[in-house]
Amino acid sequence: MRKLLHRLKNHSRLAYFSLWFLLVFYFASFFADILAPYHFDHQFRNKPYHPPTKIHFFDSRGHFHIRPFVYNTVVDDPVFKTYREDHSKIYPLKFFVRGKERKIFFFFKTDRYLFGVDQPAGIFLFGTDNYGRDIFSRLLYGGRISLSISLIGVFISFSLGMITGGIAGYFGGIIDQTLMRLVEILMVFPSFYLMLSLRAMFPLNLSSIQVYLLIVLILSLIGWAGLARIIRGMVLSIKEEDYILAAKSLGLSHWKILLFHIFPNTFSYSITAITISVPGYIIGEAALSLLGLGIQEPYPSWGNILSSTIGNLRVLGDAPWLLLAGIFIFVVLINFNLLGDALRNVLDPKNW
């Protein structure tokens, strides 16, 4: 593993950076309970569409403070939602503040967050939305859903695709014909409409965890067909290779040959395909959420944070920080693509 990292670094600095960048994203979402200053449904009712909070080192009289601080804000214009700072009191930024108890993934409890400020002031790194909820916290929590949906979905659809394609390609004949016709039936539907109709088969009033699982399932059921076809093609050519004949002559069983010789040799393609398809799941989830069929409020996902923006055109001009969810999706997408490209070369022993 360390060797692999080293090779990735030597092969492409950019991809190496992407890997770390993505790890930071995943790490941040995983530990959102600690890192986020507010819970995702915590509302500041008097601070909707609040712009990102300014963090100060100098107070209004020009004195320098070592500990950065924020001012409380009050509504200046209730119609256009403009705020002005109340300079009468400073609220220093505190680290490891104590607050309401949160559960980290049902197991661990924590009542300390990485940073925060005392009420009634608020620290909104990326501003707030129409209910006065902190966008930064919601993006962290939302990343948990968006990023994990993509990983689980990719895992399911790639297992399905590899197994189906592998079996069809290796054994051939009637098995191949049957499986491939099934795949083709799945492929003739435009994937977006298939996604919508699959979602429409289920009721709307599901609990959030049910919706989450449902979306994972729908996305992975759509994604595997194309992969199965390509893997089948690769297996068809790999099984004619001499080293497969050699493996057979050693007395290995079909399953061993398929698992240990044929699948690993498709990895040069499938690793790339996996990393490149991850963004597709994030976007798929975003698309469902955008239409209100995905993760429901108040639970955040990058998709529904973005969708609350699109619903209201005024926001685009007055509260552009709400579009940050889109930028997050974009950044993760680019990094996955860069990483996938480099991984293909790095995983091939011939390039070492």
Partner: protein, 323 residues
Amino acid sequence: MCLTPKTGRMERMLEIKNLSVLRIERKKSVPILNDINFAVKEGEMFCLVGESGSGKTSLALSIIRLLPKSFKIAYGEILINGKNILGINERSMRNIRGKEISIIFQDPAAYLDPLFTIGTHLQESFHGKMANKKELISLALQEVGLDSEIQTVYPHQLSGGQQQRVMIAMALINKPSIIIADEPTTALDVLTTRQIISLLNAIRLKHSPAMLFITHDLELAMEIGTRIGIMYRGNIVEIFRPGVQKPYHPYSKILLGTIERKNSKLVVGVEKNKFYNEQISQVCVFFDMCDEKEENCKKIIPFIWHNNETGVRCIKSGRNTQV
């Protein structure tokens, strides 16, 4: 010594009786091997020589039952240690492959999986008890003259000779009673060829497996083989002992002429574009090219054994066998 042969084996290890193989095409079937009969004994180096397309590799693949799907064994028997492997199911065949019979292929670079280290390859080919796995692997490597450290290396990092040594180690590791070497030196240079050949010879003398050495190089076969089988268009036309007998069959003489460079007239391309399946039932396989043909040759020529070990598929063999 761990790699000594087991006792109590049948004397004839590999025996092939009346083997015929067809390639099934859309409407017709093309004979690939026709009426192959021979046996390889313990400790023997039986060399099969023939030009490309004569069916040498098909024969090797039918012995381990890994012929491509379009090939079909029409009739005959292949006996490995007295057991006919054509009658058993795939699962028991799998137990024979690698364990009782192993094969060394032509181009080691293509026959080693590029994604796995040499150590993984060796572990995979090992079928014995897990307890002494490591020991036996390094022993096998030592025997083929490789360092134990080579296990962490990937195939493409090795030279052709080293790769072939790895293949030999893989073939050796289960102490098989039969080793088939399918043109193991074709992809190698002259010096490496020498090394590999002497290695194979050393292995033969040490463990005395039945060795079937397939090559197109008659000179090499004359040097190392205890017996040589000459193949022509899917038939074994002659089996002889080099050094003891001279080959008799006209085709064998042509081949020999190419080594000695005496008989330049005979070095003519053998016609390949003609399928011989139409003629096979009527005349001798070598009829078209033969300089010594006569009217009697226009019939099926059986393989005439001189004793149990040598013989020739030629009508004149009865008249002039000793040289």
